[in-house]
Amino acid sequence: MPLLAHRRVVLRLAVGAVAGFAALRAGAADSPAATLIENVAAQVIELIKTKKGAELETGIRQVLETSFDLSYMGRQALATHWKETNEEQRQRFLAAVVSSEAHAYADRFSQYGGQTLSVGRVVPRPNGVSLVESKLNQSNGQPINIEWEVRDTGQGLRISDVKIEGVSMVMTRRSDFNSYISGHGGQVDALINELEARAKH
């Protein structure tokens, strides 16, 4: 009954999440999208080396706010519920998501173990989105595939999704959030309240 062949799947997923996007500048690519990823990786490494606790969280929040297209990601994550929200709810939702993500990343990076990120191919897509492929190299074990979706927002290039071993951060949040909303009478407010509560600690 060796039914655990599939456990390997979870295993690779596991290693992926451990890595988060802890990364080091490595390899030089000419594409502006690749440069963006390398810069973000370098900023994060610098933060991990110099900051701790709340300061680290603040630093990561700044990286998220300057390099990620958070409102686009938030809209994708809320999916059809986005239309049901008013401006005030949207602001609260986005603020809560940024806080919880900054908190989560600060937590993950506290276990940083010297991984390096090598940026590989950049694949432009017809709709103006670029995909930046990268590998997170670990001291032990297989490198982890991380793919970055970069789009032009009109105010410069921003990251709009991160896929670790094929698992999209936005798509996972989307299922997570939508299921929570459905489980709470379709009320987006329930989700926002929950996220706000979580962001506080």
């Binding site: 009954m1 060796p2 979870v10 690779r12 694949v123 071993e165 999209s168 929570y180």
Partner: protein, 268 residues
């Protein structure tokens, strides 16, 4: 003890038959492409029930053992056990590679098995990788997905299996076929039924500890950072399996996923 394994055996056989029967029944209805949006989960209520039992078992037994294992067992021993388990899976991977129409790669996989089983001392050391024979992992769920003419996000209905975890109709059927076709099982059960079940139970137990010790951080993280852990894990599992199948279909990359998402018009 042996009586216990026999009843487990009966249960497992019944379970596998039930999965196949269910997937045949529901497979006929699975014409709507669930890959288009949320994962198709008609069994959500029973799934959540099994999920909560799995979590309870994990919390009181499996996770604590995995923590101790990871903390106290020397790293080379952990790696050795992991390699042994991977090595035992090579013949099954080779069979799947043949079914996938890639006998060349199956030959390499069998070469790995022979080299690692002998020079690598029953698989403790992965010497084959350093000899230019890289590792692959194949299973029947991927093989079915490779041939099925649907989006790989559509694996039929989602199902949470007791003591195994996230799966779906495609991967559940794959597991049952893999268990039946696995040369490891065929050889051990040929010796005697008791040897077969004891070997399978030992391998299962070792695999649980090995796998869980490697997923501690990731699953803790996913649980902590989701508002609905069940839904987040369902999505992550489905995406990762789809990515593996897409890589098989498209050989070099898996960017078909983006085309799929473009069509979804996620942003209203």
């Amino acid at each position: 003890m042996i009586e216990g394994f026999k009843s487990v055996a009966a249960w497992a056989r019944g379970g596998a038959a039930a999965i196949i029967a269910a997937s045949v029944l529901l497979g006929g209805c699975a014409t709507h492409d669930t890959g288009a949006a949320e994962v198709w989960d008609p069994l959500e209520t029973p799934n959540r029930f099994i999920f909560s039992i799995n979590r309870a078992v994990d919390l009181i037994a499996i996770r604590p053992m995995a923590v101790v294992y990871k903390q106290w067992v020397p790293e080379p021993a952990q790696r050795g056990l992991h390699n042994i388990l991977e090595n035992l899976g090579e013949p099954l991977t080779a069979i799947n590679e043949v079914v996938q129409g890639n006998p060349g790669r199956a030959g390499t996989t069998l070469g790995r098995f022979l080299v690692n089983s002998t020079i690598g001392v029953v698989g403790i050391f992965d010497v084959a990788s350093s000899m230019g024979m890289p590792k692959t992992n194949e299973d029947m769920g991927k093989t079915i997905g490779y041939y099925a003419g649907v989006e790989p996000e559509n694996g039929g209905f989602y199902v949470v299996l007791p003591l195994i975890g996230p799966s779906n109709a495609r991967d559940g059927v794959g597991l049952a076929i893999d268990a039946a076709a696995d040369p490891f099982n065929i050889v051990t059960f040929a010796i005697s039924n008791d040897v077969g079940w004891i070997a399978a139970a030992a391998r299962y137990g070792a695999t649980v500890i090995d796998t869980r010790s490697r997923t501690l951080f990731a699953l803790d993280d996913l649980e902590k950072n989701s508002v609905d852990y069940y839904a987040a894990l369902k999505s992550a599992y489905t995406q990762q399996r789809a990515d593996q199948i897409r890589r098989k279909r498209e050989k070099t990359d898996a960017h078909g996923e983006l085309e799929r998402r473009d069509k979804l018009a996620l942003v209203p």
